[in-house]
Symmetry: C2
Subunit: 298 residues, 2 copies
């Protein structure tokens, strides 16, 4: 390799495989009436690395190449984008063929340990993710304004989505303040996160520094599980927002890494579960006379 | 072994490990007010089979012994209850120690293949589950009355639950008609199903034939994924009901095995996605003048 080649960004070649995201199916309702509704697509995508079968992902199929890229990264199988020559997705056979430049070292051994996590499986590296947690350093001053939080919740509410037309999918999104950068849905929530991770990796290669995490916010419709919080922290994103609640391990990890975890975010309401000092209260609603969070409302 | 021992039902010895299901945590709401809410517990339970580490499950911890039993069964690692001598759960160390009578044959090989499924992971046997699907035979006449469906939806609505007090858990339940037999919640939905499977296995050993599936209904708060449908079919349960929707693979499997799949079940409303002939319309509501299922309502 010459010095000039060494400095150049070598992006992997990616196909742009597309497939329908919803499907119309026949149903019968409570009145015995036949009608039709949309349901999300769900495809199996078997990932081969240098012709060796690695894993089968069940996915909506919106961005399979970014998904595979993010999967490889988040499973810590690939350290640099330039290690991957190409990712070729062929929906006819449900296969994603990854070609690396030099192979993946000790791939057998590194994919051996399994943990079934709450956050929808894929936990093979959970143990080592936890080991890495203490290396994460989120800038103490990074945070979010309450007005931006309301802006991003509103952006999600207005987004056209597979969920609105067919239900049964999770959504994740990446924001810069209240600005929506990427919105991804999938039948498996972990796939949505991995897809965002893959996209960020590519963006960062094209415009180095653009995907620094500290001004970003990670949104998910699902619960804030340990897996979601860990992945957010590893992307360097200091704030996570969810429409749902938080799990105990999700909370523990958020506290440990100093990540601001906001749940139950709908309209103007939310609960900050960890590190509220990252939230700047510039849009506090007037406290209503007799209204408070009750457990029923959760 | 003497002939009499051979005929006796040898139940595994199970501990009855207990741990709190919720935890109170500090939060800050949208008015900047500090308060407290409950969140579900989430514990890691590492399963050892004959002192060999098998998997780590993240669980609420309600019924860890049934969970481990159901996990071993649903992963097809154990064929008969009498193969297991004991399951000892110790929450202090987060361990479930399974002692078998004669070891598990080829355990390394049989836990090697991984599939990340939509239905919250744990898909190591997904491939072989699909292979087994065609062996499933659900009695053609088995079904559910609409009045029973409404009864079971109501029973779920009225059930005291961790969800009501703390949110963020999935529930599964087993019904005989409208009679609730077992209600299980967990942070991971697959855990709830496995727990029910483990319980059914024990019940069937104590009262052989009591857990035949054909008069049972399987309820889940989560989506009807392929994994949920497959597991229901394997328990011989011909009807699944969900508050949520269905995924494409879930629908395909339901059609393939002739399972009645009912989704969006709340109050008197529902959509039957597959095999509506199993549903007996004895409680059909009057059709309102101008009301129909719209996608928005899904």
């Amino acid at each position: 390799m010459t010095p000039s080649e060494d400095r150049a960004v070598r992006l992997p070649h990616l196909t742009g495989a597309r497939a329908p995201l919803t499907r119309t199916v026949d149903v019968v309702d409570e009145f015995g009436r036949a009608s039709q509704v949309s349901i999300p697509a769900e495809r199996d995508l078997t990932v081969y690395v240098d012709k060796r079968e690695l894993v089968t992902l069940m996915t909506l199929g919106g961005h399979p190449e970014w998904l595979v890229l993010g999967y490889l990264r988040n499973q810590r199988l690939v350290g640099g984008l330039d290690e991957i020559e190409s990712i070729t997705v062929d929906w006819d056979v449900g296969a994603a063929s990854v070609k690396t430049r030099h192979g993946i070292d000790r791939i057998e051994e590194r994919t051996a340990r399994r943990v079934v996590t709450t956050g929808c499986g894929q936990g093979s590296v959970f143990g080592s993710l936890m080991d890495e947690i203490d290396k994460v350093c989120l800038p103490p001053e990074a945070g979010l304004r309450q007005s931006q939080l309301y802006g991003l919740v509103d952006a999600i509410r207005l987004k056209e989505s597979t969920y609105k037309s067919a239900g049964s999918v999770h959504a994740c999104a990446l924001f810069r303040g209240a600005e929506l950068l990427l919105f991804v849905e999938d039948v498996g929530r972990h796939n949505a996160v991995d897809t965002i991770a893959g996209w960020m990796w590519l963006q960062d290669a094209v415009a180095p520094g653009s995907m620094v995490g500290e001004d970003k916010v990670f949104y998910t419709t699902g619960r804030l599980t340990s897996e979601m919080v860990i992945k957010s922290a590893q992307m360097g994103v200091p704030v996570v927002v969810s429409r749902s609640g938080i799990t105990e391990m999700g909370l523990e990890v958020a506290r440990r890494v100093g990540l601001c975890a906001i749940g139950r975010a709908t309209h103007k309401r939310f609960l900050c579960f960890a590190n509220p000092q990252r939230l700047h209260w510039d849009a506090m609603p007037a406290v209503p006379a007799a209204r408070s969070h009750t457990l029923d409302a959760l």
